[in-house]
């Protein structure tokens, strides 16, 4: 079969790219080779549009063992303990087939983590849907939540934190990002770099089927009205097999049989074999007749491009084959030597005793195209005049926010996830960050995910900074020292220069904040082409952060602990209402600038709050984010049995601005009144601005002369949306 423009286009390649392929091969590729190129050169695998921008991110630090470029990032948490983590998107498959799309998103990210020798200890997710009134939203929400739960619950790894947001921008392109966190011994980490020639290349796990063929290419194109027809490209997950694969891999990893290991994720057998060979500057030869297949008469093309789940490729040390095979047989998994490493620096594919494809590895990897796409700077958005909006009461506005889909209590979702399996979840979702104890140790990690798409849309540099800072704050409020992040960069079409500008500038913001806070990026994933019919989604970078609690004595959450505690507001309140949740929920307005970030204040405030927590002055703590001070205080009440009595601000400031403003770098701390002198001393010594804003009290949520609501009513207001949806 000849290769014409239509075939090239069907493979998601541009005609110019095809010309490069011919040049690299010095001949025309056959269809199998074209398929392999398309799998390696698509946006999802090659990062061709993002690479030059990603390079700018800070990825090193004294706690970083492995930054981006491996299956996941690795950080050092002391005593030979390492944490391995990564976040990844599964947006396109989840829109087409929400249950399987979300489930395999979880499965894929788990493999990235256990491939490196870690036992996964926590799952997180960030999911974004269209407007609740959109006809597809309800079934997408149901499908995605049960898919995430279905996979995590079955494999037995707790789903401990996440965020769920709704906005029209995702009506036709939802976001499903899954993050996995694992624990390994520092001296037992496995990498994907092949070493040595004539080493056995082993296929383990599930059999290969025809599912997911060209999945990575699908994830690298925009949707159109016929997207439903792409359903066959969505993979089907089997968490049971993944559990077996996890246990078998960890069992084999106890000794030194493995040279390199790589999961078959996007672009399956193709990318796993090419990546291992490429990292080791070797060649790899595969005998495709040996690939375990689920269906009859599968062609080499189908085998190389299938994205069937729960498969791994392993390069074994000489003489370890029998030992390894025994382990996989114990777990009833396929174990087949399908090839060997070579010194040819080529990917050689054999089938029925013939070479059916042969491509230099570097043509697929290092010579893959890299684009410096055109991008435009975002103009500073115009300020809006807050006074032009009708004045509404504090109470009315608060109720509107607390009962909105974006701010309603999410237990309808989190109750569908097993949060406790493994018995090390010291703090479940519902607080600023989840806390997972390291098994058999005193120490724990805190984990959180965050995004702020409307801030990023309005002004990407500030938005990028803000999410990193919010994530950092969420780790601090539970008493963890922030260590590193992973990011999932969900954007529209990179061929559009405004989208590319949003990408470049969000990354600039992320970079600045990460650098200043010494909060490096150790892994991540880019998802472009999120949009339908030329309508791009809001730029939605998602940050997943990990922090360390050296000695976990009592998990700290944001629920008030007792009556008559003092409430301290750390950080200055200016009353920034542009881009606020107040305007969005009350007036459906998403205009103006995002709140400013002052990284110096951010760092100082955060470090001193952490110090106060470590010295046991803090009974509960919460960062102030969407909805401002009043929403943060409500959340602290709703989770507890106590309300508040808040004084009117002493300074001359509009009450709406004071209570709903989304100024950054702020925290609320609950402290015992006896602690005040010590706390005051520490705060003053460190030049931290703070205000005494009031006290906790029984029964009522009260703002002097303005609001008095029974906290049971507040709870009800916050807990009805999902149940009625």
């Amino acid at each position: 079969m000849g290769i014409d423009n239509k075939i090239i286009e069907k493979h998601g390649l541009k005609i110019e790219e095809y010309k490069v392929i011919k040049k690299l091969l010095k001949r025309d590729p056959n269809l199998l080779e074209l398929g392999v190129f398309s799998a390696m050169w698509n946006e999802h695998c090659s990062y061709k549009s993002s690479r030059i921008h990603l390079k700018k991110l800070p990825t090193k630090g004294d706690k970083v063992i492995q930054g981006p470029g491996e299956n996941a990032g690795v950080i050092d948490i002391g005593d030979n303990d390492a944490i391995i983590f990564k976040i990844e998107s599964h947006n396109h498959p989840s829109f087409i087939e929400p249950y399987q799309g979300a489930a395999t998103g979880v499965g894929g990210i788990l493999r990235d983590v256990f491939t490196m020798g870690a036992r996964p200890i926590a799952l997180l997710n960030s999911i974004h849907f269209g407007a609740p009134s959109h006809p597809k939203t309800k079934s997408l929400l149901n499908g995605v939540v049960s898919g995430i739960g279905g996979y995590g619950n079955c494999i037995g790894i707790p789903t401990v934190a996440g965020e769920t947001k709704f906005n029209d921008t995702y009506n036709d392109n939802i976001l499903v990002n899954a993050m996995a966190v694992g624990h390994a011994e520092k001296n037992k980490i496995f990498y994907s770099k092949a070493k040595g020639i004539n080493k056995s290349v082993v296929y383990v796990g599930s059999k290969t089927g025809r599912d997911g063929i060209h999945g990575a290419s699908m994830a690298s194109a925009e949707f159109d009205d016929n997207s439903d027809e792409k359903r066959p490209t969505v993979q089907v997950g089997d968490p049971f097999t993944e559990k077996l694969l996890l246990e078998a891999c960890l069992e084999l990893m106890k000794d030194d049989s493995i040279i390199a290991i790589q999961d078959m994720g996007a672009a399956g057998l193709t990318s796993s074999s090419v990546e291992m060979a490429s990292k080791g500057s070797l060649g790899i030869e595969l005998i495709l007749d040996k690939v375990p297949c689920r269906e009859e008469n599968m062609s080499p093309y189908e085998m190389m491009l299938s994205e069937s789940q729960e498969r791994m490729l392993i390069i074994l040390e000489d003489g370890k084959e029998k030992h390894a095979k025994k382990i996989f047989q114990k777990w009833d998994l396929d174990f087949v030597i399908i090839g060997k490493t070579t010194d040819t620096k080529k990917l050689t594919l054999k089938y029925k005793d013939k070479i059916v494809g042969e491509i230099p590895i570097e043509a697929l990897a290092s010579k893959a195209p890299i684009y410096d796409r055109k991008w435009t700077k975002k103009k500073v958005p115009k300020s809006i005049n807050i006074k032009k909006f009708k004045k509404i009461g504090l109470k009315e506005a608060l109720i509107k926010i607390l009962s909105s889909p974006n701010h309603s209590n999410k237990s309808w979702i989190t109750n569908q996830y097993d949060q406790m399996v493994m018995c090390d979840t010291a703090q479940k979702s519902g607080s600023d960050a989840a806390i997972i104890r390291i098994h058999n140790k005193d120490k724990a990690i805190a984990v959180a995910v965050d995004s702020s798409a409307n801030y990023c849309k309005s002004f990407p540099i500030t938005g990028g900074k803000q999410i990193v800072c919010e994530n950092w704050r969420n780790l601090i409020t539970v008493g963890a020292k922030p260590i590193a992040i992973t990011n999932c960069l969900n954007f529209g079409n990179p061929e559009n220069k405004e989208v590319m500008g949003e990408f470049a500038e969000c990354l600039e913001g992320i970079k600045e904040a990460c650098k200043f806070l010494n909060f490096p990026v150790v892994s991540g994933n880019v998802s472009f082409y999120n949009g339908t019919n030329k309508k791009n989604i809001y730029p939605t970078p998602v940050i997943g952060g990990v922090g360390l609690i050296e000695k976990l004595s009592q998990p700290l959450n944001h629920n008030f602990k007792k009556d008559k505690s003092l409430l301290i507001l750390i950080g200055k309140t200016f009353g920034h209402l542009e881009q606020s949740c107040y305007l969005k929920e009350n007036f459906a307005v998403e205009d103006g600038k995002p709140p400013k970030i002052n990284l110096i204040n951010e760092k100082n405030n955060g470090e001193v709050v952490l110090k106060l927590i470590k010295e046991n002055f803090v009974l509960s703590s919460h960062d102030i984010s969407n909805g401002g001070l009043i929403v943060a205080l409500s959340e602290m009440s709703i989770g507890s049995k106590f309300g508040v009595k808040i004084n009117k601000p002493k300074k001359l400031i509009n009450l709406t601005e004071y209570f709903f403003g989304e100024d950054q770098s702020r925290y609320i701390l609950e402290i015992d009144e006896n602690s005040l002198p010590d706390v005051d001393k520490i705060l003053k010594k460190n030049n931290i601005y703070y205000e005494n804003i009031g006290i906790t009290q029984k029964n009522y949520f009260e703002i002097e002369g303005e609001i008095k609501i029974d906290i049971n009513d507040l709870f009800k207001i916050n807990n009805q949306w999902y149940n009625n949806y």
Binding site: M420, C423, D424, P555
Partner: protein, 225 residues
Amino acid sequence: MRSSVIVFPGSNCDRDIAVALQRMQFKNKMIWHKETSLPKSDLIVIPGGFSYGDYLRSGAIAGKSLIINEVIKAAKSGCLILGICNGFQILTETGMLKGTLLRNKNLKFINRDVNIRVMNNKTRFTSKYKLNQVLNLNIAHNEGNYYTDSNHLEQLKKDNLIAFKYSDSNGNTDDKFNPNGAIENIAGIFNDKKNILGMMPHPERMVDELISNSDGINLFSSLLD
């Protein structure tokens, strides 16, 4: 006290129960499902999880596994058997306990802390609890909706074979406090001889104050007596 925890492919609470047993000073062994004999045990635990992926029906394939014949033999000779969550489902699949576990009434997986009331404390599993004591334990299941026929239900009541019922924090067993639709709020039952206990809530998740609470501890300490 010697305990054995049966590990099926897809079990995922096996480590949790082993940790709890060791904490309570049991001499515990993990038994792989392909084994054909059991070490001498005073207690056999079938842990929670998704044995064989819950394919066919939860617990159905495990109920036909090699090791399960040994468990049945041991039970007949009076060994104590504890099935938690998927373990309870497996016990009903083998017929060691009567009745069955249906899909939750809301057709969703449910994970949350629930209150259960101790209905019988004169057994090897519950002697350290007070009668009608309310425990706060965690549930995590898709199929926890216990159902049985009216004859068996009568027998359960008559012979005091209901171990736990879902309740509120005061022990009210109103249907309002039933998370999954189980008949008469039943959360756990015994066999006739009371040497087998099947329960949906996870006592092994409640043995550590730092993580949750200590309401599960007395189940294990009862067994040590």
